[in-house]
Structures are given as C-alpha cells and as structure tokens.
Symmetry: C2
C-alpha cells in the first residue's frame, strides 16, 4: 500500500510497533512529546544528523532498512565521541506519497535493530510527505560519562589513536558505485567475502559506542571519523590549536580493504585517509596514560592503534611515510554545500 492512501495517523500506529523501549522511556509515541526519566548523570549529550537522498545516500544501493539503521548508528557515534552513552532516539521522516508503507516499516525496523543493539529507545518522531526524495533526521539523547571528550583538549606530545580499521566504508561505497550488488543483512549481522564485508561497513556502520565512556579521564580529545581521518583529525587539531603527524605505515587497514584495493580506483591508504563514514573513534591520549588506556580497553573486543603524535606546529595534519618523509595530503574529506560530488 502507498503512503498516500494510508494517512499519517494509521502510519504512526503501524510504526509504533517497531519502537523499542528501555526503562528510561516513560512514554513513547502517541502524545505531544516523549517523556523520559530524568537521568542521574553529570550532563546530557544531544546530537542530530540528517540524511538526504541524493546527498548522503542513493536509493539504488540503500534499502530503507539500511537507511534507518545507519541514521541511528551515526548519531550514536556522535554521543560516543563525547564520552557518553546514548539512551533515546527520535526519527523525523519526510517521504514521497508514492512510497510503499512496507518500505517505511522497513526503515523503522532498521532504526529499531540499531537501537536494540545499543540499548537505545525509539522515543518518537514526526512524519511528513515530501514533494521529492527522502529526508531523514535523527536526534539522539545520551548521558555523559565521568568527564567529557571534547575536540579541544589535545596537547603537543599526546599520542593519536584510532579504533578499528579505516577506509572500509569508503572502499565499500566505491564498490557500490561501481554497481556491485549490496549485501542484504540485518544490522549487526556478518557477511562472507571481502567485497561484501566492505559494502556492509558502508551500509551498516557499527560505531564502538561502548569505548567512548571508557576513554573519559584518559583521552585529552576525541572525535568520530565521519568525514575521513585527515579531515576529522584536522577538526580536532583546529579545536585544540595544535597539529598532528600521522605515520602512514601505522594506519590500521583491514584484510578486506587490502584484498580488494587492487581492484579499486584508488589505493587502500587513500580510502583510509580520506574516505568518510568509518564511524571509528579518533582520540588523543597523553603518553603517561597510554598504559592505563590499554588496560581499560582490554576485553572490550575493540582494537585501538597508535597512528601518530600531536605537535605544537605546524597547526595542521602532516603525513609521514615509513621512513619519516613528509607526504602530500591527497584529498580532503567530505564537506557539504561546497563539494559537488554525489554519494
């Protein structure tokens, strides 16, 4: 059935079935506002991210389910990058009237599965017709840990770390652009084969949300890698008034990226440095706290890699090869409005 036939209120009743709760959600969909229990926490963290068809995603390789899951995941990543724990999500959605109701339900199932994985409630939202294209705005509310991970605390001498591996999502996007068949999986599910693994990294980012809180009191600054390593490290450096040197041979690359890169238009490292949407955590730690960091992350299943050092000058990101030679930055990360590149 098309949205244009079912009407907004019947749609909301159907979608409400896909909304996971948690103990802090006192009242979800169905009234003027969601009601949340006031958390006992030092502070609240609040973020929003917008996904626009034709800008952030293309329908040709993004199922509605994937879109919902990703919209939640990228917001959770922002809360984790501040050292917090996400608790609740709101989903605002504008859709063409000819969209099938089943597709909207699939989008909400994607939201639900991502929320369930991270213990987040789907507290409510808004739906509207859209004259053209899908617009999805998700907002996530979380609680701060003991201390905040700001972008602005990095100091010269701090070690630069990153979780997981970089470049997988961008390489996956390159494969999707080249027309490969996207894998169909539930959010959080695995897949066999290097190409499918990379595409799934793009479609279903799995931000290391649990790590954020563990960095509090240890990391001096943090950001999540959404625009690309070089771009996001640049944001962190600008906020902190410092620069950073990255050792290219230390940048963590996945076996899948290394296996597939020879068939891709750019080399593996280019995806790792300039590809966005990895949703890994990039953070800086004073050297005397590095041993404690490693102890605290033991048993989380999340790998962290030291990839460079914070420097007082120059106040930019400098890349060095294995022999210490300075290498040129190949390509900037993604920025809206100015760049005309499509997703």
């Amino acid at each position: 059935m098309r949205l244009g036939r079912i009407g907004e209120f019947a749609l909301i009743r159907r979608l409400a079935r896909h909304c996971p709760t948690n103990p802090a959600l006192l009242l979800g969909i169905g009234d003027d506002a969601a009601v949340l229990s006031a958390p006992r926490a030092p502070a609240l963290l609040w973020t929003t991210d917008l996904l626009v068809e034709g800008i952030h995603f293309r329908r040709s390789w993004t199922r509605f389910y994937d879109l919902g899951a990703k919209a939640i995941a990228v917001n959770l990543s922002d809360v984790a990058a501040m050292g917090g724990t996400p608790r609740h999500a709101l989903v605002s959605l504008a859709l063409p009237a000819q969209t099938a109701v089943e597709e909207v339900e699939a989008l909400y199932r994607g939201c639900r599965d991502a929320c369930l994985r991270y213990g987040v409630s789907l507290a409510g939202g808004d739906t509207s017709r859209s004259p053209k294209g899908v617009f999805l705005s998700v907002s996530v509310l979380g609680v701060a840990g003991k201390g905040l991970l700001r972008r602005s605390g990095a100091r010269a001498g701090d070690v630069v770390f990153v979780t997981g591996t970089l470049g997988d999502a961008a390489a996956g996007l390159a494969l999707l652009r080249a027309g490969r068949t996207p894998p169909r999986r539930r959010y959080g599910g695995g897949v066999r084969g290097h190409e499918k693994t990379l595409m799934l990294r793009h479609l279903h980012p799995l931000p290391p949300v649990g790590v954020g809180g563990r960095l509090c009191g240890l990391a001096s600054a943090a950001i999540d890698v959404s625009d690309g390593l070089v771009a996001d490290l640049g944001h962190l450096c600008r906020s902190s008034g410092v620069g950073a040197e990255i050792r290219l041979d230390a940048v963590p690359l996945s076996p899948s990226l290394l296996a597939v890169a020879p068939r891709l238009p750019r080399e593996a490292l280019a995806y790792a440095l300039h590809g966005g949407e990895d949703y890994q955590l990039l953070f800086t730690v004073p050297p005397q706290r590095v041993a404690r960091l490693r102890r605290r992350l033991r048993g989380t299943g999340v790998s962290v890699t030291a990839i460079g050092t914070v420097v007082a000058s120059p106040r930019c990101v400098v890349l060095r090869d294995a022999r210490g030679r300075r290498v040129r930055v190949l390509r900037e990360g993604y920025e809206h409005f100015r760049r005309e590149e499509s997703p």
Copy 2:
C-alpha cells in the same frame, strides 16, 4: 553569497553567532554533541517537528526568518501541551546549494528570536545540501512540571477549555493564499490592521507556553491545536476513550477574524473549528477544579474559554449550536499523506 560557495564549516561558524544560550547549555555548536546540564526535574519532555517546503509552507509568502521562528514555536507548543517547560532546541536544515547565505542566517535569526522569547537555548543542529526544496527539522527538549498533561486523562463531565482564540492562523493562511502581502515583523512583534494580524498569526504562532505548567494537577488531559479544534479534540477523545460536545456559540473568535471573515471564502466558525496551526492549548478540567484553574491563570495574560463538555458517548466530537441542536462537522483537520491539499 550562495551556500554552494561558502561550504558547510564556514556556514556553521556564521550560524553559531545566532545561537542563544541559557544557563543549562554547557556546550553548544562546535563539537560532536551539545552538552546540557542534567536537569533536576521529575522527567524530560522531548519532541520534534518537521517543516517541508511545498507541504507545510510556501516560499512565496514565508520568509526564511518566519520559517525559523515558526519551526521553533510549534515544537515549544508540544512541550507546553505536556505541561512542561522547553529548555533547548536543535535545528536540522537541508537547503538547495543556490540558497543565499543571508537567507540561512535569516532563518537562524528567526529561530533565535523565538528561542529568546521563551528562554530556550539553540544547542546545535546539522546542515546539508538538499537536491530540491527546504527541509527543516527542529527538536526541543524540556522539563516536565509537577505531573504530566497527557491526551488520555479526559473523563465524562470534564469541562473542555481552550486558550486564546481559534481560527486566526487558518484565516491568515487564506489571506496569504489569496495573494495578500505578508507582514514583515520580528517574532513576537505586533501589527496594525485585522488582515495583517491574521496573517501574522499564521506566520508567527505564539503558543501560550507558560500556561502548560500551570495546568499540571488541574487539567485531566491536554493537546495543542495544530490540526484544528475538531481534529485535535478528536485525538484527545480517542486517547481518553470518551467523546465531547462543543457549543459553537462559545468558541472564542478574535475581533480580527470576525472583521475579515465576510471577505473570506468560508465563515469565521469554519476556520475556528477546522483550521489548523493555532497552537493554542486545548484541555479538559474536572468541574470541581475549574475555580482553581481560573485563579491559577489570573495575571498570566492568557485567556481561557470553556467551550464544551466531555461525554461518555458517543465517542466523537459533537457540535451544537446556541439552541443545543446538533450541527454537522464541516471539514476534517489536516492529515499528512492522505490529503492532497497543498499549504
């Protein structure tokens, strides 16, 4: 300058100047998430509303400034309708690349002026290109008062009240549709002349936010009038499992609506019953608490009018004229997706 030339990060720096703060906003624009002091309140209230060009507004009569102010106001209204006090707002915005930077700044000035009027901080947001049309999603976080105003608490015998007057915004929209020149005012500013007054009610709704908290413990149910009196009272009745009888001669109409209605396509009462976007509060009060209600609202400057009674059956909204005769419902309120009417 066009958005396509300035880039996202320069834009965000410009917009950050228009973001009002309040003591509970610990960290606004510029990091991964906004940081809010954890409120000492029984609960949090959280809502979101989406405004889509061509669905909720037309650029021909809506300035960017007006759009920003209205997007904030309608969200504040939802928090008030739950008996709460709004504290913080997030603004997510998708705009065509050819939009002038000055227009985006005007939109944020509108958001700012509405936030300032109600003591709300503009905590952050997201910006993106849009392939076509303006999409604006605002989310507002507030604190609950002593008790919640749900839609579901109305009981037979309760008196139905509404704040202010009804139908002004819909009549104003009719004037704008007919090609009248929209008034140019700062949010909250007044205007001379009945037609301009009505148009301003549509462009700059002023929800009686302070009243929401005062209804806690007195009102049995509440909702804000966004879809129209009959439609929203219908929502409230359905949630409560009751019906309601409205006395048409009691429905409060403004002098401006009465003066202009003879020149409009429909009669004044039709706008009051079925016109949306008044953003007044519609609520029910058990008869033994009505005197306390009137005392509590004294001095707020907000008028409330008893317009009818909650009944056990039929479970729908029944309209009666001054002689008690049942009158047919003329037209349903606005519902998305199903209705093909444009704004």
